[in-house]
Symmetry: C2
Subunit: 330 residues, 2 copies
């Protein structure tokens, strides 16, 4: 693992390298602006390859892999978007990938990783920690671990989301960039991107209520733990504690952390469906959910709000739509 | 009304003028390519302002309005995307708009037009034709009629959808541009765009089964009528007969017309939701529906498939998602 702290220049470098990523659109609506009392540019990483921004970090990292040193390829531990991204990028670049997943992960997710040619290693989450399994695999084989946050190239790759948005909006005033926050890699990359692209925007993060480890860690100055690892629909954001490298950056640069609960997240998913016509996963909607729940937060200002992903169970998505039943019948 | 036949140069001119439109993304997926046996770039005009490509034609037309000749602004007859686009562009440009709608149109659509500042004139669709009501308004007031298809600037504006896609894909091979077809304005604009952007792509259209007036008109050489004006979920495509100016262009240049039925359209809507994570309305999904229903059509070729809009009733959208129930439960 590479624990060099990334710099703003790493984001510019990743930005050059990531021509292969979709330049995702910035959507807006008058209705949305009216609701938050400001101006919102909704950055649709749900439309990114693999349906999430994680493609960026994975590509920025894997495309630099020393293939002679790691002929066995890469290993990642993730049930979700990071694992899918590593498997997909591995296939694109001809790099073998191994993804460590709990055996009770949704079978569609296991099948999707295998469809990308990944080798899937299943484990019992009550009996083992995924990081340890990945470390054991890396000890026994010539493979590189691709962590979801603790890697300078992953962080810099995630930073290109904001970089691309700020570049597209050059000339427009952007006061805030608001990103979902799990382990903190996206937030940290965003902090670097703002400097790299010479923006004066503040970086804000949004976390699920009761999974506000980054908020509490910023307050205490050390990496705090979440009390639980389940109990929120925002499956993409349930890291146990801030990752080390991201937190080193976020503690210095992150200006504010907002929170939202599951009901607010479902309402935001519905709002995005109705007004912007895209599908966001719960974790991807949390920034907007937090703004809608805190209507004073953005008053009179402008923000890039990052929708981090769109990989959501249809049952859950329909729950979000049904919360709109009465309005739709009107 | 301006019945000059538009030329390819009009599309280039509209392309210059439409910097204000969203450059909508071209999405793709390996799963989609595998299903059609070719390469598909899905052009997301569902993410356009107002949720449909109609913004382009409306803006290209209204932004040229002679305001001294028409101090009363513009009038349009449309329950759907064209009417919303004219109302929205009117508001943007400070041009008063009047939208003629049947009194039994969905109240949300009437409310949306009014929210844009439009004056809504309601009529009884059993007792009057909307074109006549618009003509009567234009006779009595200094207002210009903005028809949905029979206008060179509207057609040229719609052509910028394909123009933008071909420009973004310059260098890539595009064999086909496939567009939804109601009155034929989008298809005609696309034919001009292909020439304007020096592409060799064929232009194909897709129509709802039993509303294949353009297909039959191309075969007979004259403008044929649909037998009915309801009975398909593709509400955006139920024009009674091809519009005059578009048909003059389409009869010379349109290479092929495919059809799809409601069930195929619902399945395509679900597929787009699952694979591309965007919301398309039935008419917007018909191109993809026709390709999925005719898996030999694109074999080994590449196509830009235009998703024309995303304005769909939530009840209908959930019907589309439910058709996936068994796969989701897997």
């Amino acid at each position: 693992m590479n624990l060099r702290r990334p710099e703003p220049a790493d984001v510019l470098d990743a930005h050059e390298r990531l021509g292969i990523a979709i330049r995702t659109p910035l959507l807006r609506s008058d209705e949305l602006d009216a609701r938050v009392g400001g101006k919102v540019f909704f950055k649709c990483e749900n439309l990114q390859r693999c349906g999430a921004f994680k493609f960026r970090g994975a590509y920025n990292c894997l495309s630099r892999l020393d293939r002679q040193a790691y002929p066995g390829g890469v290993v990642a531990y993730s049930t979700g978007n990071h694992g899918q991204a590593v498997a997909t990028v591995g296939r694109m670049l001809g790099i073998p990938s191994t993804i460590v997943m709990p055996y009770d992960a949704p079978s569609v997710k296991i099948a999707k990783a295998r469809a990308q040619g990944a080798q899937v290693v299943l484990y019992d989450r009550r009996a083992a920690r995924r990081e340890e399994i990945a470390a054991r695999i890396a000890d026994a084989n010539p493979v590189a671990i691709i962590p979801p946050g603790d890697d300078p190239f992953v962080i810099a790759g995630q930073g290109t989301v904001a970089g691309e948005a700020l570049q597209a909006l050059s000339g427009a005033n952007v006061d805030v960039v608001l990103v979902p926050c799990g382990g903190g890699g996206l937030a940290a990359g965003t902090c670097l991107a703002v400097e790299a692209f010479r923006s004066k925007a503040e970086v804000w993060a949004a976390e699920p209520l009761a999974f506000d480890d980054t908020k509490r860690s910023l307050a205490s100055g050390q990496r705090e733990k979440n009390l639980r690892l389940d109990g929120s629909i925002c499956d993409a954001l349930l890291a146990p504690t801030p990752a080390v490298l991201p937190f080193a950056i976020n503690r210095e640069r992150l200006a504010r952390v907002l929170v939202a609960d599951d009901r607010q997240v479902l309402e935001a998913m519905r709002f995005v469906y109705e007004e912007l016509r895209v599908v966001v996963e719960p974790g991807g909607a949390i920034g907007l959910a937090a703004l809608l729940a805190n209507p004073e937060a953005l008053r009179g200002r402008s923000a890039v709000v990052v929708a981090s992903g769109g990989n959501v169970d249809t049952g859950l998505f329909m729950r979000a739509l049904q919360s709109a039943g009465d309005r739709v019948a009107a």
